[in-house]
């Protein structure tokens, strides 16, 4: 697959504030990449620089290997769907969709053909004469997408496309985006703060925080092998559990000691390089534990505080050491009585992070 978009040390400063801090990444043709992060992390600024609404302080943007950093907005052949749709309210749906073609001075007959095609593609075929004031939020969203797709952009960029929709519409629109993704084979860049959207739509996810690219990897790896405690806590619901403690040895068995509360550590590869006495955070994804009988091999014990059954699964909250941890386990595995619960983490998904920097100590299968 060819590289469609490449960001090289892209940087944006506003005075002393660094909004985007030397972000480098590549997006392959036909791939959907999600820019994920909390608000204010620099993802929208990155997006605006890609389309040209903002100029980078330094760094470069390549589309098909050509630098577009100095190309003015509107000449980069990229399409942006705005978060608030930015539909022209004084025009009909048809006029909105055809606007980009009209600016490009496409002939009327060709224009009508294109508009009809796109309108039926986004499901607005029967609403072309309507004014935006008569449309629902999801229809406005379709107008915004149609208006962008009609110009046949090299890259389709979506800025928080579902955040203004209600829950039901959000699901529908997510399926719709998935269909557009499959049928157009567009290269899509999708900005979101919603991890579910990123995980369900994107092939690859770039997680940003405070202007810094935290991790850029496949959706699977970003979820299962977070490179920092930030990525681990930002993805997943409930988020990854972090337990801070000191690595110790007892015979052949190594374990994490948090003021006397103990988690045995599996003898897998990441751990072998960590010396005794080092302060670390153990990261365990909420759904990567098994409930076992007390005293089982490799198990640790926690005091059960609460159980929230959610149909086939239950969220259990337990006290371990000085903090609480949350896990998702099959409802059938939930202990009948309160008291202590014994848990064994999945050895290959257990992660170790530096206690201070939050950086993952040894890379797992993700790299």
């Amino acid at each position: 697959m060819a590289i469609k978009l490449e960001l090289i040390k892209l940087r944006k400063e506003y005075g002393s504030l660094i909004a985007v801090d030397d972000v480098s990444l590549q997006v392959e043709e036909g791939e959907t990449m999600a820019l994920l992060g909390p608000s204010g992390c620099g993802k929208s600024t990155t997006l605006n620089m890609i389309v040209g609404l903002e100029l980078p302080t330094s760094g470069d943007i390549l589309i098909d290997g050509q630098s577009v950093a100095k190309t003015p907005v509107g000449r980069r052949n990229v399409g942006l769907v705005f978060q608030d749709y930015a539909v022209f309210t004084h025009m009909t749906v048809r006029q909105n969709i055809e606007y980009g073609l009209r600016v490009r001075k496409v002939a009327r007959a060709e224009m009508n053909k294109q508009v009809d095609k796109i309108a039926s593609f986004v499901g607005l075929g029967d609403k072309l004469r309507r004014k935006p004031a008569e449309l629902s939020a999801s229809e406005l969203q379709r107008v915004a997408i149609g208006r962008t797709l009609v110009t046949n952009p090299q890259i389709l960029l979506l800025d928080e496309p579902l955040s203004n929709l209600e829950a039901e519409m959000r699901h529908q629109m997510r399926r719709e985006l998935h269909r557009i993704q499959l049928e157009t084979k567009q290269t899509i860049i999708y900005v979101t703060h919603d991890q579910i959207e990123a995980l369900s739509l994107a092939h690859r996810i770039a997680v940003m925080n405070l202007g810094v690219l935290q991790q850029y990897d496949t959706a699977y790896n970003v979820y299962h092998y977070p490179r920092s405690t930030f990525v681990g806590s930002f993805l997943g619901n409930p988020p990854m559990n972090f337990i801070t403690g000191v690595v110790k040895s007892n015979g052949g068995q190594r374990y994490l000691d948090q003021n006397g509360a103990i988690i045995p550590l599996p003898p897998s590869k990441p751990l072998t390089a960590v010396p005794d006495g080092k302060s670390v955070k153990v990261g365990i994804r909420a759904e990567t534990v098994d409930v076992v009988p007390a005293g089982a091999q490799g198990a640790f014990s926690a005091e059960l505080l609460a159980v929230e059954p959610q149909g086939p699964e239950a969220v259990i909250t337990a006290k371990f050491g000085g903090g609480t941890i949350k896990f998702v386990v099959p409802t059938s595995a939930v202990p009948k009585s309160t008291g202590h619960v014994s848990l064994v983490p999945h050895a290959n998904l257990l992660a170790l992070f530096d206690a201070e920097s939050g950086v993952r100590l040894m890379n797992g299968a993700g790299s």
Partner: protein
């Protein structure tokens, strides 16, 4: 908001409010048709039994009135001018009677229209640059308003001095510039609020489609705030149309406006010529009423634009 049901008590309330608001207008129109002996009669004459158009003739076609009364204003073939021999309405004589109000009416139209256009164009550019490009930071928008922070007479005196120096007194262009300068703060701030309410993404979307920044403003921003521009235009037009102080001190004989002309209908023997003034005032509101009628749809939309968030 669903329309509320019309009830008898809000009907009465509305009627009272209407009577209160429209009574001066009624009195003005009524007086404009009264003969001079009924203008200040006690008890007041509500609607004259002896309605006359003489007040209107005095301001619009004084020669017709004079001829009707036996006085002559016509020029003979020799170029000799005969003097009006009878007094006109309310004992008005001389200049007042012979000179119609047409000069003032045309003066008001020319000055108000051009000054309003200038004010809106300058105000729109200023509003765009302040709202979208933060031109002048946080302070410039307030400096623009500073001219409105003094009583008008305080800035009127410097105006007279400056205008005398450059020969702008008693000219149309001088008064047009003065009116534009005085109303630009209003147009800037009103238009700025309309632009502020419009998300800038909508212009960015147009730019994504290939329009330049300037064309995005022309093709997208301006059409979208059309209602606001129309409402602002009418507001500025009314300000200019009814302005008195600057017109009084910056004009002498060559240029006049309706408000100044109104004050001139004053007789040495009879005091204010209320009927004639009422007639000119009635004439002067006609254009505004007609314009208001045609743009009322935009007016309501324009004045409430800021309150409606989509």
């Amino acid at each position: 908001m669903p329309p509320k049901k019309f009830t008898w008590y809000n009907g009465i309330g509305l009627t009272l409010a209407l009577i209160f608001a429209l009574f001066p207008v009624f009195w003005m129109v009524s007086t404009s048709f009264k003969p001079s002996n009924e203008w200040v009669k006690q008890p007041p004459v509500w609607i004259s039994g002896n309605a006359t158009v003489e007040n209107y003739l005095t301001i619009l076609w004084p020669s017709v009135l004079l001829e009707k009364r036996g006085g002559l204003t016509q020029y003979t073939e020799e170029g000799e001018q005969k003097v009006a021999e009878t007094t006109g309405v309310g004992g008005a004589v001389g200049d007042i009677l012979i000179k119609s109000a047409w000069q003032a009416i045309w003066g008001s139209i020319i000055i108000s229209v051009f000054a309003t256009a200038l004010s809106i164009i300058v105000g729109l550019m200023a509003a765009l640059s302040i709202s979208r490009y933060r031109f002048g930071g946080n302070t410039t928008p307030f400096f623009i308003l500073s001219g409105r922070m003094f009583p008008p007479i305080a800035i009127a005196i410097p105006f007279v001095v400056m205008f005398s120096d450059v020969g702008a007194t008693d000219t149309y262009w001088g008064l047009i510039l003065a009116y534009a300068a005085v109303t630009v703060p209003f147009s800037t701030w009103m238009l700025k609020s309309f632009i502020d309410d419009l998300p800038k993404e909508i212009e960015e979307a147009a730019m994504m489609d290939g329009l330049s920044r300037w064309m995005a403003h022309v093709k997208i921003t301006i059409p979208l705030i059309k209602g606001g521009i129309i409402a602002t235009t009418l507001f500025i037009l009314i300000l200019n149309w009814s302005e008195f102080l600057f017109a009084l001190i910056l004009t002498y004989t060559k240029v006049a406006t309706i408000p100044v002309q109104l004050a001139k209908y004053f007789s040495a023997t009879e005091g204010a010529l209320y009927g004639v003034q009422a007639a000119l005032a009635t004439v002067s509101i006609v254009p505004l009423v007609i314009i208001g009628f045609f743009i009322q749809k935009h007016l309501v939309r324009g004045l409430t634009l800021g309150a409606i968030k989509r």
